[in-house]
Point group: C2
Chain length 665, copies 2
C-alpha cells in the first residue's frame, strides 16, 4: 500500500472494527454495509436509537462539557484553562468514531458527516507540526509532553484518535482525519519506536489502534510499535502506582507470562484486545495462547453473570478470583465494551463459540443496561444490586443513569459500539458464512445473502432465507448459544439430521454444508425456558441465591414491581414454584416479563444484625414476583433492584419443609 494517507482508498464502505489483514488466519469480518439490522429487531432498534438519540447527545455534550473547547484552547481559539479530565480529547475521538460507524451504516446521515468534517478540521488545526496533539498538554505551557506516562493518557488519546480515523476511512468518509492520525502515530513511532524511548502508556489502548492503523494503511511500522508496546509492558517501566500498585496498569507481569487478569479492568481488557491483534498479524501463537489463558482467568473466576467485569471501585480493578459482589460491582461500561471487543478478536482468530457467547452475554446485559430506554442517560458502573437506603448522591454509584459524567469515557464508547453493531453479527471464511448474533435483518457475504426473520432475543425462533448464486457447496454456520440445551433445525421443511445437531451442541455451531444455490428457508428453534442459574460455590457474595435467565437475558426484580409497603431485600424466590413468561410483543418498554413465585415475611423480623443460627423462619406470604430484563431496570422509577434473589427452599438440604411456614401465612 502507498505510504501517504490520502492515497488510501476511501470510496467504498470498508470493514468494521478489528479487521485483520489476509496475513491473519481465522474468520473474516464483513463490510460495514454487508449487514443491515432491521429496526424491528432489538439490535436494529438500538442502532436507530443510537443514531437519533445517543450520538447527537454525545455531540452536544462535547460542547457542553468543554471537550471540544479544550482543543480550541490548545491553539488559542478559545480562552481559559483546560477543563475536565486530562484525557477529555478521547471523548471527542470516541464520538468521532461513533459518527464514522454511523455514517458507515447510513451514508445519508449529514449531521454525522458534518461533525466528522468540522471536528477533523479542528484537530488538523490543533495538531502541532510534528504530529503532537493533546489539548491538556498543549493548553498549558508549563506542561511537557510524555512527562507522566502513568496517568497522562497521551498515547491512550492518540489511540482513540487513530481508531476514529480508521473508522472514518472505513466508512468511506475521507482521509483527512487519517492524515492527522498518521502524523500522531508517526510521532509515536519516532519517540517510542525501536531505538527510541523504552516506555508504555499507563492506559493501554494505542496497541489495538496501531494494529488497526497498520491494517488500514499497510505500514509495518505501526504494527511493529504495537508489538513493541505489548512486549515492553509488564517490565516495570512505569513508575510505582502508590494507591493501587503496579498491577493497576498491568505493568507487573509481561502478558506472555501472566496467568491472571489483574488491575484496572478497562486497561487490562484494552491491552488484551491489542494483544490478540498483534498476535494474529504477526502469527505469534505464544501471544495468542496468553490471551486465551487470560480469558480463562477472566471468564472462569472474574466475570459477573451480566458479563460485567471489574469487582472493585477501588482501583477500578478486577479483584480476587470469585470476588464478585453484586452490590459493589464496579462493572464499568467501558470494561464490558472492551470485553466485547476482546472477545470479537478472539472469535475472529479462533472461531470458538465461547467468545461469541461472551459477546452476547455482555451485549444484552452489562452493555445494554448502561443506556436508558431513551438513549440519553447512562450508567458508568453497572451493579447487579441496588439496596434500599442506597446513597446515590455520587456519580461513582448513582441510583439512576446520569446524562453525562465528569469522567465521560462510557457514553461515547457506547455510541461507537452500537453504531458498529452490525459488524459483529456475522463473518465469513473460505468455507462459508458464520452467523454469531441473531437479530432481524440481513447479511450479505461472498457466499450469498441471508435474511433473518426473528424476534430474538425475545424468542428463539429464527427463520432464515438463504439466497445464493453459487452452485458449489458452502457452509452456513449458525451459532448455538452456550445457554441453549436443545435445538431443532430444518432446511426447506426437512429436519436436519441428528448427528449434525449433536455436533452443533458439542461444537457450538450448527454447520449446514450444501449447495445453497437459489433460495432456501432454514428454520431454527432455540428453546428459551427460564433458567434458574446459580453461581460457583466460591462466589460467596451470591450464595443461596438464584438468577432468572432466559435466552441471553439476565433478569432482575425491582422495587417498582413490589407492593409499596414491602422491601425488596425481604423478597425470596420459591424455586419449586412454576415460572411463567409473558410476551407483550414489541412496542412496549418491557416486551417480555418473567413471573415467579415470591415469598415475603408477613411480619417485621428482628432488627438484630447478628443472632443465634438458624434464625427462626418467619411466616411467609406468597407474592407474584415480576422480573424484567436487567438491562431495562431503572427506566420506570428509581428504587432498589437485584439480579440474584435469595431462594426458598435451598437445595440439597434438610430441615423444616418450607410449606409449613408458607401455610401459616
Amino acid at each position: 500500500m502507498a505510504d501517504h494517507p490520502t492515497d488510501v482508498s476511501t470510496a467504498a464502505a470498508g470493514p468494521g472494527p478489528a479487521s485483520p489483514t489476509g496475513r491473519a488466519t481465522g474468520l473474516r469480518p464483513l463490510g460495514l454495509d454487508a449487514v443491515r439490522l432491521d429496526p424491528a429487531g432489538l439490535l436494529g432498534r438500538w442502532q436507530l436509537r443510537n443514531a437519533t438519540a445517543t450520538l447527537p447527545h454525545c455531540v452536544r455534550q462535547l460542547d457542553e462539557s468543554g471537550a471540544l473547547d479544550n482543543l480550541r484552547r490548545a491553539i488559542g481559539e478559545v480562552d481559559g484553562a483546560h477543563v475536565g479530565m486530562r484525557f477529555s480529547d478521547s471523548d471527542v475521538y470516541k464520538t468521532l468514531e461513533a459518527a464514522a460507524w454511523q455514517l458507515g451504516r447510513d451514508p445519508g446521515d449529514h449531521a454525522a458527516r458534518e461533525f466528522i468534517r468540522s471536528t477533523s478540521a479542528l484537530l488538523a488545526r490543533a495538531q502541532e507540526a510534528d504530529g503532537y496533539l493533546n489539548s491538556y498538554v498543549q493548553s498549558d505551557p508549563s506542561r511537557s509532553r510524555w512527562e507522566d506516562l502513568e496517568e497522562g493518557h497521551e498515547l491512550y488519546c492518540a489511540g482513540h484518535l487513530i481508531q476514529a480515523a480508521v473508522a472514518v476511512v472505513r466508512a468511506g468518509a475521507g482521509s483527512d482525519l487519517l492524515a492527522v492520525a498518521g502524523r500522531a502515530a508517526d510521532l509515536a513511532v519516532e519517540v517510542f519506536g525501536a531505538g527510541g524511548r523504552d516506555a508504555v502508556c499507563g492506559h493501554p489502548e494505542i496497541e489495538t489502534a496501531l494494529v488497526e492503523l497498520y491494517r488500514a494503511t499497510g505500514r509495518q511500522r505501526y504494527l511493529d510499535l504495537a508489538k513493541r508496546f505489548v512486549d515492553l509492558r509488564g517490565q516495570g517501566l512505569l513508575g510505582e502506582n502508590e494507591r493501587f500498585g503496579r498491577a493497576y496498569f498491568q505493568d507487573e507481569v509481561p502478558v506472555r507470562s501472566a496467568t491472571e487478569v489483574t488491575g484496572h479492568a478497562v486497561r487490562q481488557l484494552y491491552l488484551l484486545a491489542g494483544v490478540v491483534d498483534v498476535a494474529v498479524e504477526t502469527g505469534d501463537q505464544q501471544l495468542l495462547d496468553a490471551a486465551e489463558r487470560l480469558w480463562e482467568s477472566a471468564f472462569q473466576t472474574k466475570t459477573y453473570l451480566t458479563g460485567g467485569q471489574g469487582s472493585r471501585h477501588w482501583g477500578e480493578s478486577f479483584g480476587d478470583p470469585y470476588e464478585l459482589p453484586p452490590d459493589r460491582a464496579y462493572a464499568e461500561t467501558c470494561a464490558a465494551i472492551a470485553s466485547f471487543q476482546w472477545n470479537w478478536r478472539l472469535l475472529l482468530a479462533t472461531g470458538a463459540r465461547r467468545y461469541a457467547d461472551e459477546m452476547e452475554r455482555a451485549l444484552y446485559n452489562a452493555i445494554a443496561v448502561a443506556v436508558s430506554a431513551d438513549g440519553e442517560s447512562f450508567f458508568y458502573s453497572n451493579p447487579l444490586q441496588l439496596r434500599t437506603g442506597h446513597d446515590g448522591s455520587h456519580e461513582d454509584a448513582p441510583s439512576q443513569r446520569l446524562s453525562w459524567y465528569s469522567c465521560a469515557c462510557c457514553p461515547p464508547n457506547l455510541a461507537r459500539l452500537i453504531a458498529s453493531l452490525q459488524s459483529y453479527v456475522a463473518t465469513e471464511d473460505a468455507g462459508g458464512t458464520q452467523l454469531h448474533l441473531y437479530s432481524a435483518g440481513s447479511v450479505r457475504t461472498s457466499h450469498g445473502q441471508i435474511d433473518v426473520d426473528t424476534r430474538y432475543p425475545w424468542q428463539g425462533h429464527l427463520r432464515l432465507t438463504v439466497r445464493s448464486t453459487r452452485s458449489e457447496p458452502w457452509t452456513l454456520a449458525l451459532r448455538v448459544p452456550g445457554w441453549c440445551t436443545a435445538v431443532t433445525v430444518s432446511v426447506d421443511g426437512e429436519p436436519v439430521d441428528p448427528a449434525t445437531v449433536d455436533r452443533a451442541m458439542a461444537e457450538g455451531y450448527l454447520r449446514l454444508t450444501r449447495s445453497w444455490q437459489g433460495s432456501s428457508t432454514v428454520i431454527v428453534d432455540l428453546p428459551m425456558p427460564v433458567r434458574l442459574v446459580g453461581a460457583h460455590p466460591k462466589v460467596d457474595a451470591v450464595r443461596g441465591c438464584v438468577a432468572l435467565v432466559r435466552g441471553p437475558i439476565v433478569h432482575s426484580i425491582e422495587q417498582a414491581d413490589l407492593p409499596p409497603e414491602s422491601c425488596l431485600e425481604d423478597v425470596a424466590l420459591d424455586v419449586s414454584a412454576p415460572i411463567t413468561v409473558t410476551d407483550s410483543g414489541e412496542g412496549t418498554l418491557v416486551p417480555v416479563t418473567v413471573t415467579a413465585q415470591g415469598l415475603l415475611p408477613t411480619a417485621a423480623g428482628s432488627s438484630e444484625l447478628y443472632g443465634a443460627y438458624p434464625v427462626p423462619p418467619a411466616p411467609l406470604t406468597r407474592l407474584r414476583l415480576v422480573a424484567i430484563p436487567y438491562f431495562l431496570w431503572g427506566n420506570r422509577e428509581p428504587g432498589p433492584m437485584r439480579v440474584w434473589i435469595p431462594t426458598v427452599p435451598a437445595p440439597s438440604t434438610t430441615g423444616t419443609p418450607l410449606s409449613e411456614s408458607k401455610e401459616k401465612s
Copy 2:
C-alpha cells in the same frame, strides 16, 4: 480552675481518656492507677506487650518514617521537604498520648518519660509564637494556614496534640505539653471561635479533644468551640468532595438531624465521640439523642460481627445499610478504636450495657486482630475473609500485617488505646462500682477494692474478692454480656436470688447491693458454649454462612489448619455435628481452639462460574475443622482465612438429605 496551663496540678495520676466533669451525669471513670490489669490475664498481657513492643516500635518508626524530622524541618533543624502524609504530626501526637498513658500505668517507664520530655520540647520549639503548629504547612513557605480545611487535617492534628497533652497531665508527667496544646487551642478559638471564621475541619477529632482540654483546664472557651464545631458541621461549609461526596466528611446533614452513619467511618466516629462529650458537658439531651439514634444506625445495619465498621475501601466509608462484605471489609483499625471510644462515652453517659457490649466486641475482635502476636506489625484494614489467590501486594489490603504504613494512623492509635486499657474496665457512681470488662487484675474505687481472678475471655468463670471498709450498702454492678444467655452467681457461697439474676439478664448488669464491709467472695459463671451465629437476612454477603463465636470471641478458620492440598473456599460446616472446645491453657499462641465438623468435596467441581441451579451436590468427605480466635489469625503462616463459613445443611429447607452425599464419600 486557673487559666494558665502550668497552674494545672500534675502531681498525681488523674483519670484516663474521656473524663466528664461533675457537670455531666452518669458513670464516672476511675483514676489511671485505680485499676491494675494482671499480665497473667489477656488484657494485662496486651498492656505489657504494648509497653515493651508496640510503643517502642512506634517511637522508632516516628524516627524512621521522618515524622519527627518533619517537625524539626519546620524550624530548620533538619533540611529537606516534608515527607509522608500531611497529617504526619498526628502520628507523633498519638504516640505521645500512648507514652503518657503508659507512664500513667507505670511511672517507672523512663523511656516513655524521656520520649515525652524530648518530644514536648521539640514541639515547643516548633510552635510558632501565636500557637500555630503544623509541620506540613510550616515546612514550606508556599503553603498557607487553613487553606485546605477539607484535606489539610490541621485542626485534626491540633486535636491529637491536645489529647496527648491531656494524657500527659493526667499521667502526672508535667504540663509542658499542655502549654503547647493550650496555645494551639487558643489559636483555634481565636480563628474559629464565635465571631471568627465559620468553618470545620475535614476530619473531625478536635471536637472531643477540646472537650477533654476543657475538662483538664476548666476553660469554657474550649467547650464552646467544640460545641460550635459540632453545630457548624453538616451545613456544607466544606467544599464539595469530588471523589466521595460531601457525606465523606459528614458535612451533608447536621448531626442533630442525621439518621444514618455515613461517609468516612473514622471521621464519623470521631465526630460522634465529640458529640457525646459536648452533649454531656452542656446537658444537651437533643445531641445525646442524636448520638444514640446514630448508634442504632451503626450497630443495627453497618457493623461487622467483629465490631469493625466501614464496608468500603472507596472513600473508607460506612456503605449502605446491610452492605457488609467480609472479603472487602475495610474495617479500619482506627474506626474500631473510634467506635470503642464512642461507646465508652455513651456508656459513661447512660450506663447502658449495649455500649459496653460493643466495646467488648470491638476490643477482642476488630481491634485485637490489628496487632500481631509480637506487637510489632499491624493491620490497617481488617477483613473477615482473605481469599485463595488474594493479591496482597498493596498495603490497602495486604495478606499479612505490616510493620508500618505510609498512612500510619493505626499503629499509634492502637498503642494509645492499649496503654490506657485499664481505664475502660470499671466505673463508679454515687451508688457503687460497675465492672464492664473482665480480666485478671484489681479495681480500686471509693467503695472498696475488687480483685478479679479469671481467665476471661478464655473461660467465663470469675472469682471476685471484694474488700470494703464501708459499712453502708453499695452496689457492685457486674455486666452480664449480651451474648450470655444464662448466668450463675454466688456471694460467699450463697446463690444470689433468682429475681436479681433475672433482672440482670434483662437489664444487662447484675446488681449486688449490700454492705460489703470486710471481705467477700463473689463467684460468677458466664457459660461460654460455642455459638453458631447467623447474620440478618439482609446481609447478603454472608447468606448461608455461620460464624463460630464463643464468649466475646469471634473465630476464624485458616488455610494453615487445613490439609495442604485443600482449598479453604471449598470447606463447609456441618451445623448438625458436635463442636468441641480445647483449652490448652496460657502460654500458647492459641489458648483455646474450637473444633467443628467440616466437609470438603472429594473431587474438583465444575470450573464453570455460572450453571444450572441447583448445582449438583458433590460427594463430601469429613474434615476436622479447627477454628481459632479471629484476632489471632495470620500469626502462623500467610494464607486464606474466613470468619463466615458456608453451612451444610442449611436450615428450614427441603431437599436431598445431606447424609446421602456424605455417606458416599
